[in-house]
């Protein structure tokens, strides 16, 4: 009985097995399976007769065998579940393939980053929105619709110590432009430091597109920056040479001449303590008169804008302001 049950079991197993086709594949030379790349490299020589006799079938059977080997390998890999999907972890690729770009070089730190590293300052992530107490709303910290957005100023107070005719709006705009320009300069300086290229000093802002004047200025500065103040430099055919740029600034030696220093300091002290305020009367009078002219001129322009004001009532020189006879009011 036991023998018959055993036989039964065996028969059943065999029949089950026959239902399914095998997953084993036999090859002469072992096939190189690279799970990392999902790649199979079969080096077995191709039977040319078989190939020529029944091409498509031969190729598809070859493909099937090799793919079976690859899948056999993949099914041996460790599995885990990710969001109801069964996933196998594939290993690193064996075959090295050429990269598309060279290995990235380590970026040089900016000046601030170096300082922060030195001091151990950590970068703090700031929230994008800030609660504004005045409007009781969440506004962005910077930029459009923020608290310090320039477009919001319909009213700007003139501080006590400021000139009443100064344009506060223009001033604020100008300050912002300066800040932006400074930031840009520092950014470019960081790049220049990273690339180890030299940056021109004060007076020339490194720009990508320089105007003709700026190029001119840069050229003249470069020419002057020699020990002999550009005196022996070659002259270009159409170059305009600046005439009075030959003076060298003379500096006193920083140490050694104690009597000269003493005299200088004494003079300054005397001026401060004993001396009367320096007043150049002629200059003061001229300034007063000029300011008066400016006020007159402004009134004229306003009159002109409003209606057909008397254009020719005043003499030309006053109309034109300072541009008229300069010597007349000296």
């Amino acid at each position: 009985m036991a023998a018959s049950t055993n036989e039964l079991v065996q028969d059943v197993l065999e029949s089950v097995k026959k239902q399914f086709k095998s997953i084993t594949v036999e090859k002469d030379i072992e096939v190189d399976v690279d799970c990392g790349n999902l790649l199979v490299c079969d080096q077995n020589p191709i039977d040319i007769k078989l190939y020529r006799s029944n091409r498509n079938e031969f190729i598809s059977s070859l493909a099937r065998d090799n793919t079976q080997l690859l899948f056999n390998q993949i099914w041996k890999l460790p599995i885990h579940k990710v969001d109801d999907v069964v996933v196998a972890e594939i290993p690193d690729p064996q075959i090295r393939i050429p990269r598309e770009k060279p290995v990235p070089k380590a970026k040089k730190l900016t000046k601030w980053q170096e300082y922060a590293e030195l001091k151990g300052i950590q970068k703090r992530k700031r929230s994008r929105l800030v609660f504004d107490e005045e409007t009781k709303e969440w506004v962005p910290r910077f930029g459009y619709k923020s608290k310090n957005d320039l477009k919001k100023d319909w009213l700007l107070e003139v501080p006590d110590n400021a000139d009443p005719f100064e344009d506060q709006f223009a001033k604020k705009k100008g300050e912002k432009k300066e800040r932006v320009a400074k930031n840009e300069l520092q950014r470019l300086r960081n790049i220049a430091r990273a690339q180890k290229s030299k940056v021109p000093g004060i007076g020339l802002i490194p720009k990508l597109q320089q105007s003709q004047d700026e190029v001119n200025q840069a050229f003249h500065l470069a020419k002057k920056s020699t020990a002999s103040i550009g005196r022996f430099e070659e002259k270009l055919p159409k170059e305009i040479v600046e005439k009075n740029s030959r003076k060298k600034r003379k500096f006193e030696p920083t140490f050694g001449q104690l009597d000269k220093e003493k005299d200088r300091e004494k003079k300054i002290l005397n001026h401060i303590l004993l001396g009367k305020p320096k007043l150049d009367i002629a200059k003061a009078v001229n300034k007063e008169m000029r300011d008066g002219e400016v006020v007159e001129d402004e009134r004229e322009s306003r009159r002109r804008q409003k209606g057909r004001g008397s254009k020719k009532a005043l003499p030309k020189s006053v109309r034109r302001g300072n541009r008229g006879n300069k010597s007349s009011y000296r």
């Binding site: 790349n37 079969d42 020589p45 040319i48 793919t67 899948f71 393939i97 990269r99 598309e100 290995v103």
Partner: protein
């Protein structure tokens, strides 16, 4: 950012960031370009390979008068603008009918270039069955000894691997899926390219039986001209950055109970120079000192245990 010209918006900044060289690279983009004269076969071939390579592919709509083997600069320019390191250029003329020039670039300069002629071509439409979704990643099968013996075929193999390489979306891939399987096969000096869809059938065991159904384009390619990179340039392109390599953890071991053991290597200490006077534990208690003075000096006593301040020091005999 270390760029002189700042990108104007976040989108362009993202594009430029992706374009920079990275430690682990993005999937390579391929550009498909048509020459000034193309045939139907070439057009269809280009279109079908483009579909296989989507979404990491760019198809140029206009015809370009380029001769890759003579002047490669325009292709390098295109590669720079499209951030594509692979290209397939199709053309047709009497001397080289149904021509495909494929190649890859390193650092926007030409690396390898292969000119393949299409001998026979069957498009996807001729195989009447359901295809796979665009973007599914293939597994590759290379059969034939020529792919390992011949230098140019070897390079061709590496090129084709890099071309069809699945993107690096983590090291995980679901094991139950039906995928295309381009077969590249070398016999009679021809490269036969076929695409199949894998069907997983039941087998007696856990691992399924694989059956293939042909879906994709099938073409016979003949290698015509090649332009291979010099060995040192190729070596340079294969360089792996140090950070990408996994770091070896030395002197750390895990035993059967999953406790981590570490090994610390000390430099040799000169025990003669140890400062014992300032170590409190080694100092004698006052009472003991008195006791010691009271007792006569005895050799026997010295060899006994000396009780020093609640700690027992055993002196070697």
């Amino acid at each position: 950012m270390h760029r002189i010209v700042k990108p104007k918006n976040k989108r362009s900044k993202r594009f430029l960031d992706a374009k920079e060289s990275q430690i682990i690279e993005n999937t390579k983009t391929a550009m498909f370009i048509r020459g000034s004269q193309t045939s139907d076969v070439v057009n269809n071939a280009l279109k079908e390979i483009y579909i296989m390579k989507k979404p990491n592919a760019v198809m140029f709509t206009k015809k370009n008068n380029i001769r890759p083997f003579e002047d490669f600069t325009s292709l390098e320019f295109f590669s720079n603008k499209n951030d594509a390191s692979l290209f397939v250029f199709g053309s047709h003329n009497k001397k080289r009918p149904h021509n495909l020039v494929m190649g890859h670039l390193y650092d926007y300069h030409l690396l390898d270039m292969f000119e393949l002629g299409i001998e026979s071509f069957q498009s996807m439409n001729s195989f009447k069955n359901t295809k796979l979704t665009v973007g599914s990643k293939p597994c590759l099968v290379f059969a034939g000894e020529l792919f390992n013996s011949d230098h140019s075929y070897k390079r061709l193999k590496y090129f084709l691997i890099s071309k069809f390489l699945p993107g690096s979306d983590g090291a995980k891939r679901p094991p139950r899926w039906a995928r295309a399987c381009p077969l590249l096969h070398c016999c009679d000096g021809k490269v036969v390219l076929k695409s199949y869809k894998t069907l997983l059938k039941k087998s007696g065991t856990k691992t399924p039986r694989v059956e293939l159904e042909e879906i994709g384009p099938s073409m016979d390619l003949v290698m015509r001209r090649t332009h291979l990179a010099t060995t040192d340039l190729y070596k340079r392109s294969l360089k792996v950055p140090k950070t990408a390599k996994p770091k070896k953890r030395k002197n750390i071991s895990i035993d059967a109970f999953k406790t981590t053991h570490g090994r610390v290597h000390m430099e040799k200490q000169d025990l003669g120079n140890l400062q014992t006077r300032k170590m409190k534990a080694l100092k004698r208690v006052r009472e003991e000192k008195k006791q010691k003075e009271a007792q006569p000096r005895n050799k026997e006593l010295r060899s006994q245990c000396i009780r020093v301040r609640n700690k027992i020091l055993i002196k070697p005999a």
